[in-house]
Symmetry: C2
Subunit: 408 residues, 2 copies
């Protein structure tokens, strides 16, 4: 297994101050599923009245826990809910065994937390193709249920890590009708655990009161412009999961109010950025904005083509303002583009204008931008008004080291 | 510019013995477009009666020479034809300047070779976004026309190289009606020339007699299973070009005879493999076969998803029989798959069977296969009878070095 001993240079200085979300409590335990000497299971207990929404990987080879979660969204809020997550083993590609392990864990959580099985959500992340030793989890559920603590969200963020190099949290609050509504979320990112692929798990909690249908629609909408706009290496996990839980404890009906939507968007975007900032071997955080496409959808296709191009990502690692590779990535994306209408900026420096190098372009100015830690690339397609922004990181020797040099 | 001093470990021992193709002659010259001390322009003169077929990059930002070639396919064979190729400058993303440069070169070739401008095909490969110094070519055309030689195909293969580490040639011959029909082809591969992307140029010559429509159809068909089945880093050049020229000098009407099609397929496949074997940083040649997909198209989608996955390619570089990453790549491809029907082999070793690890699997056996230079991965989707084979190379530190560590 890859030994990651260095924290990403893009990591924030510390885990943020997180508000306590009324109606949510956490506990963690070291179950020894794969790792030694660290917590690897987390339990979150959600009070009666909590609605749960979620989005999941679109992979055709989704893991057993993902399939189980997808079926359970929209269940009755009155009974409360629980989330159980383990790291170290993804319970993916484990055949019938995988479904059985989920059923055993769900049953044990339901009993220990006194919630119906239909309201227990689970995630697993880690090696794939190995049977999950579920007894190590089920035999610790009484301990987990007995140690639930509303203040333990940072420990929860740590327990779900695999080879992440830092814990990931984000928060926002908003005043509605003179009352405060809080949101707190945690994520595990794109650190690798051989022989698994990068899995993203995200759990967001709020004391807002909101019905499940409205919450589901909000989460799906904001997901398109946050988690679905990040990419580290274009690869898609079998286990990606985002769950958003609203306890209603603030007593504030947020409905589809814009301020709540904005706050949720902020938390989702912050967590998405943190996942990119822990990309394997990442040394630069890259924002790619495409404007002037025929549609927003086309703009996103172009932006992701740039973000996923190994040639673009290695140029960024090399601090090279290589606009030729941007042209190439736009050209291959499949969305409409006109070579002679393209304009490209690195930071504030206009490199190419309407299909050719800007006559006033000074390479040293673009090169100066590329030396920074935050790189902004802007492409105007020159065809319409479609726009999109996506985020990625550079492709470095660190990526090869983590994914090739170490054996599983 | 990246300095490539080491020949790819996957290179063949030598350039093959090539037959002289009656009706084709070659010349080269050092025009100093970018490189010092080497030939960087090649001219091929094709006798009256030669039909020319071709396929080109699908990029929306195609270069000026590509657009010009595309318009000219299907022109009259009676006047002969000429091909002029320069390395060092791709004449891509050069606005109106690019079209003008092509027109100037075409005019000069037409005069020097006494062929109509509509029968002059050009390609350019090298840096993009810089004006092509076309006078360095046009002022040498009399020399080029005066030194044409039917035996100079290896020199032609060398003149079109950019950072390729070896010259690429392939040949085949076939007996039809007691007479020999010969095919000889050259290619430049995926060596990078900063700040350009990998460009593939291929020129194939035969003395077969075949009308343009039949040849075009043959080339398009075989292209789908040869050049369109290779990938180094999923990136697409603005200049990719394959031209096939039939002089008819053998006097043998090949029509759509199977033996000629097979021979053409062999030359195209051999050249495609050579391009992969010169992939940047490549240390292993990888064949990925997918069977049991719902359709051939789906099989190719799955196979290319595996071939383009950075996680799969780094695992191969690390000699790791990491079947979890294969599952991931199949799952994300977008084509139908059923997790519990997948089977995977590395070489002859069945690793996974119907959705879970093969109970008889011994990792040491798969690991032994991964240590070889030629890696075979076979995935059976378990849904239908669709099948496809694609080829790629591993993703190594060498790729990062060539594309990030050196500045343009």
């Amino acid at each position: 297994m890859a030994k990651i001993t260095v924290v990403s240079p893009l990591a924030p200085k510390r885990f943020p101050e997180m508000p306590v979300i009324d109606g949510v409590s956490f506990s963690t335990v070291a179950a020894g599923i794969k790792y030694e000497g660290r917590a690897d299971v987390m339990l979150a207990r959600l009070a009666p009245g909590t609605t749960v929404a979620g989005v999941f990987t679109k992979s055709a080879t989704r893991s057993a826990p993902v399939l189980d979660c997808q079926e359970k969204l929209g269940g009755p809020a009155k009974d409360g809910a629980a989330i159980l997550v383990n790291s170290g083993n993804s319970n993916a590609f484990t055949g019938r065994n995988g479904r059985d392990a989920v059923a055993r864990i769900v049953g044990a959580v339901a009993r220990a937390c006194d919630v119906p099985e239909t309201r227990v959500f689970t995630s697993s992340t880690g090696v794939i193709g190995e049977p999950l030793p579920f007894e190590r989890i089920t035999e610790r559920l009484d301990t987990l249920a007995a140690t639930l603590d509303p203040n333990a969200i940072e420990a929860a963020a740590a327990a779900i890590m695999t080879t992440d190099t830092f814990t990931k949290g984000a928060t926002a609050s908003v005043e509605i009708d003179g009352k405060t509504v809080s949101i707190a979320g945690i994520a595990k990112g794109s650190g690798m655990i051989a022989p698994d692929m990068a899995t993203m798990l995200v759990y967001i909690f709020t004391d807002a009161r909101i019905d499940q249908g409205t919450l589901q629609s909000l989460v799906a909408t904001h997901n398109e412009k946050t988690f679905n706009c990040i990419t580290v290496d274009s690869d898609t996990s079998t286990s990606d999961t985002v769950l958003v839980c609203a306890t209603g404890a603030s007593g504030v009906d947020v409905g589809d109010s814009a301020p709540f939507g904005d706050a949720l968007h902020k938390v989702m975007k912050d967590l998405a950025h943190l996942v990119v900032k822990d990309g394997e071997g990442a040394t630069k955080f890259v924002e790619i904005t495409v404007t002037g496409a025929a549609s927003d959808k086309d703009a996103k296709t172009h932006a992701l083509s740039v973000a996923n191009s190994p040639l673009v990502k290695t140029a960024i690692a090399g601090e090279d303002p290589n606009w030729g590779r941007i042209v190439m990535a736009i050209g291959k994306s499949g969305a409409p583009a006109d070579r002679d209408a393209l304009s490209i900026r690195f930071g504030d420096v206009e490199v190419a204008r309407k299909g050719w190098v800007n006559p006033d372009y000074v390479e040293a100015e673009a090169a100066a931008h590329m030396k920074g830690q935050n790189i902004c690339i802007h492409v105007d397609i020159g065809l319409g008004s479609g726009k999109a922004t996506v985020w990625t990181c550079d492709l470095t020797h660190g990526y090869i080291e983590i994914n090739a040099d170490y054996r599983s």
